[in-house]
């Protein structure tokens, strides 16, 4: 897997203060489990995303640890409370120096 890859965030661009918003975060990644073998019987090394974090104006609101049991191209749907206008930053990090960062802006009224 390359050092970084495509990611995508789906969330509302604006919300009322105190509303619960749903965030969908997906990263393109094979999530090679480390339990598979090639036809010649060689084990394929594990190569997965280990951690996903979401910060809201630099305050961490959600974190998740991934294990090989996560499917390829991991999709996570979670919620957070819209507290203030600002930026949400999403960060994936994993094996072999993999790192991907994505941002989304939200206007809270």
């Amino acid at each position: 897997m390359s050092k970084t890859s495509r990611t995508s965030i789906t969330m509302p661009a604006s919300a009322k203060k105190g509303a619960i918003i749903e965030i969908r975060a997906i990263a393109q990644h094979d999530m090679e489990s480390g339990f598979r073998y090639t036809e010649s019987g060689k084990a394929i090394a594990r190569d997965i995303i280990r951690m996903f974090t979401c910060t809201y104006n630099d305050i961490e609101v959600f974190k998740m640890d991934f294990y090989p049991g996560m499917g390829a191209n991991p999709l996570v749907i979670f919620t957070t409370v819209a507290t203030e206008t600002g930026t949400l930053e999403f960060k994936w990090s994993g094996d072999d120096g993999y790192e991907a960062i994505n941002q989304a802006h939200i206007t809270v009224s």
Binding site: S33, F35, F62, K63, Y67, P68, G69, M70, G71
Partner: protein, 160 residues
């Protein structure tokens, strides 16, 4: 003497049969299934999470399809009953699969700012099995929920 000679081959045949049977039994014991985590592994993973504290049943609802055609991508939804206030919230949700080579699937860390304790994701399931979700509350208590599923095509172990 005559009798002995007629019985001996029978005895040999029976011995041979028993040998084959025992080999079969040993073969079954070492089948690839033993490479997967067993219930004990899952119980141990749950104990590691709870640190030996009792895990009560309830509050957690885990939704996976009861019949899965392909174990490579299974939609899993876990939600915990909680007001998610600063004084009463879910700290973490752990998902454990009994039949996977590694029982842990993911751990999600929540805060009161999460609003709800509800997470949807896609996981791999290696076999028909029971999947457990353990919720760790801010007061230190643990709650669990589980769901059973049938997997027709398993994930993880196929050749490339």
């Amino acid at each position: 003497m005559d009798l002995d000679f007629s019985f001996q081959p029978h005895r040999r045949r029976w011995l041979g049969r028993f040998q084959k049977l025992s080999l079969l039994a040993i073969g079954a014991w070492f089948s690839p299934l033993t490479a997967f985590a067993k219930k004990e592994d899952a119980t141990k993973a749950i104990q590691d999470i709870s640190g030996g504290k009792p895990v009560q049943e309830g509050k957690v609802s885990l939704v996976i399809p009861p019949l899965v055609e392909n174990g490579n991508l299974v939609v899993l939804k876990v939600s915990v009953e909680s007001p998610m206030t600063a004084t009463n919230y879910v700290k973490a949700i752990h998902v454990i699969a009994e039949g996977n080579p590694l029982p842990n699937i993911f751990t999600a860390y929540l805060t009161p700012r999460s609003g709800t304790a509800s997470i949807t994701t896609r996981v791999r399931l290696a076999d028909s099995q029971t999947v457990w979700a353990i919720a760790q509350m801010n007061d230190g208590s643990f709650w669990s929920g589980h769901a059973e599923t049938l997997v027709t095509l398993s994930a993880c172990t196929e050749l490339v």
